[in-house]
């Protein structure tokens, strides 16, 4: 199997420091929840808040979620956030963001690709980042919302923000992704987009996740639990007919330059379960 390093931006709120780490050996975890759980194991003592995207985010329709992995009083939770943040993380050239420690004063993180500026709470997050290329995730009333609309289930993310003295995160991604066989990629993109009727959700006029034309009302509250392959990619749970189709998944991964085998995909649930068992 080809090994592709996973690029992780780790942010120490207490020291206002950050670094980008390249992990060579996390390929088996694919991304999203798999990557998030493994990073939770690696950073467990630091009580991290992890945002992890998967290999399809930013590239294919209906793959627009971001896995949020956190430790809720000893229980490792994985929840899923919609909106445009997965594309911004991908276009920042990152696979995951790991945030740990507690900020000495209420903080706003302004992330531009792999660089972080630590801002005071007096800065309006909406004024940070580059217009049209950013995501703004911030505390609004009692909820942490992305773009003023997209949230996550339960109150886990809000508690993390409170514990870490975090008020907002702005992420801007300005990198361009390279695909060697662009014609094949476009053909596959169209093929997946044409399977819109396979989604188990109705079209609506609500704010939509990026790279998803559905505008459904379901994405507002985020997701929790479900298929580990889907959540490792990280695709929408309502697109499960598409992204649990192993043929489609292999085609997508292949055109992006990944070279997973059936064994790699089949062993993913066990790998994730073992990782979770070690940290629970």
């Amino acid at each position: 199997m080809e090994t592709r390093p996973r690029k992780v931006l780790s942010i120490n709120l207490a020291k206002k420091e950050y670094e980008v780490k390249s992990f060579e050996d996390l390929n088996n975890y694919i991304g999203g929840v798999g990557l998030g759980f493994k990073l939770m194991e690696l950073y467990y003592d630091k009580n991290p808040l992890i945002f992890a995207v998967g290999p399809l985010n930013g590239f294919f329709p209906f793959a627009s979620k971001t896995a949020v992995v956190l430790n809720n009083d000893g229980v490792i939770e994985d929840i899923y956030l919609g909106g445009n943040i997965s594309l911004r993380i991908r276009y920042a050239g990152l696979d995951a963001i790991v945030i740990y420690g507690t900020s000495p004063e209420p903080a706003v993180l302004d992330i531009l690709n792999a660089a972080v500026s630590f801002k005071s709470v007096n800065e309006n997050p909406e004024k940070l980042g580059l217009p049209g290329k950013k995501s703004v995730l911030k505390l609004e009333g009692s909820k942490v919302l992305l773009g003023g609309y997209f949230g996550t289930p339960e109150h886990y993310l809000e508690k993390e923000f409170e514990d870490k003295n975090l008020y907002g995160i702005v992420i801007t991604g300005t990198e361009l992704m390279h695909i060697s066989d662009f014609d094949k990629y476009e053909e596959l993109y169209s093929r997946i987009l044409n399977r819109k009727d396979d989604l188990s959700v109705l079209e609506g006029n609500y704010p939509s996740c990026s790279n998803c034309p559905m505008g459904c009302g379901k994405s507002q509250t985020g997701e929790m639990g479900g298929n580990v392959l889907l959540h490792s990619l990280v695709a929408c749970q309502y697109a499960d007919k598409i992204y649990t189709d192993v043929g489609i998944v292999f085609s997508c991964l292949n055109v992006l330059g990944y070279n997973y085998t059936h064994e790699d995909i089949e062993s993913l649930p066990r790998l994730i379960e073992q990782t979770l068992r070690r940290i629970s």
């Binding site: 930013g58 590239f59 329709p61 445009n84 594309l87 276009y91 909406e126 217009p131 049209g132 290329k133 773009g147 003023g148 609309y149 991604g173 300005t174 990198e175 361009l176 992704m177 695909i179 662009f182 990629y185 476009e186 993109y189 987009l193 079209e203 006029n205 609500y206 704010p207 939509s208 996740c209 990026s210 790279n211 998803c212 034309p213 559905m214 505008g215």
Partner: protein, 83 residues
Amino acid sequence: MPRTLKISFPEKCVGCEMCILEAQRQLSKVGLEGALIRVFRNTNSKLGNIEYSLEIDPRINSLNVDKIAQICPKLVFEVEEAE
């Protein structure tokens, strides 16, 4: 006759960015850098009332604008024949 992309119904935009990504793919790009369409969330709209606005770079008209208009699920765009 040249065809131009026009934002006719911005109020219908749901912020999916399909148009941006389509235009970028036509330039063999994946990402937002150098995008010829930009979608913004209006931060001054009333709480609970999310609105988006769009900007297009005139260079968009060198692309296949019909394909860009068609990919929008809410038909925000129209294509006009330029004089």
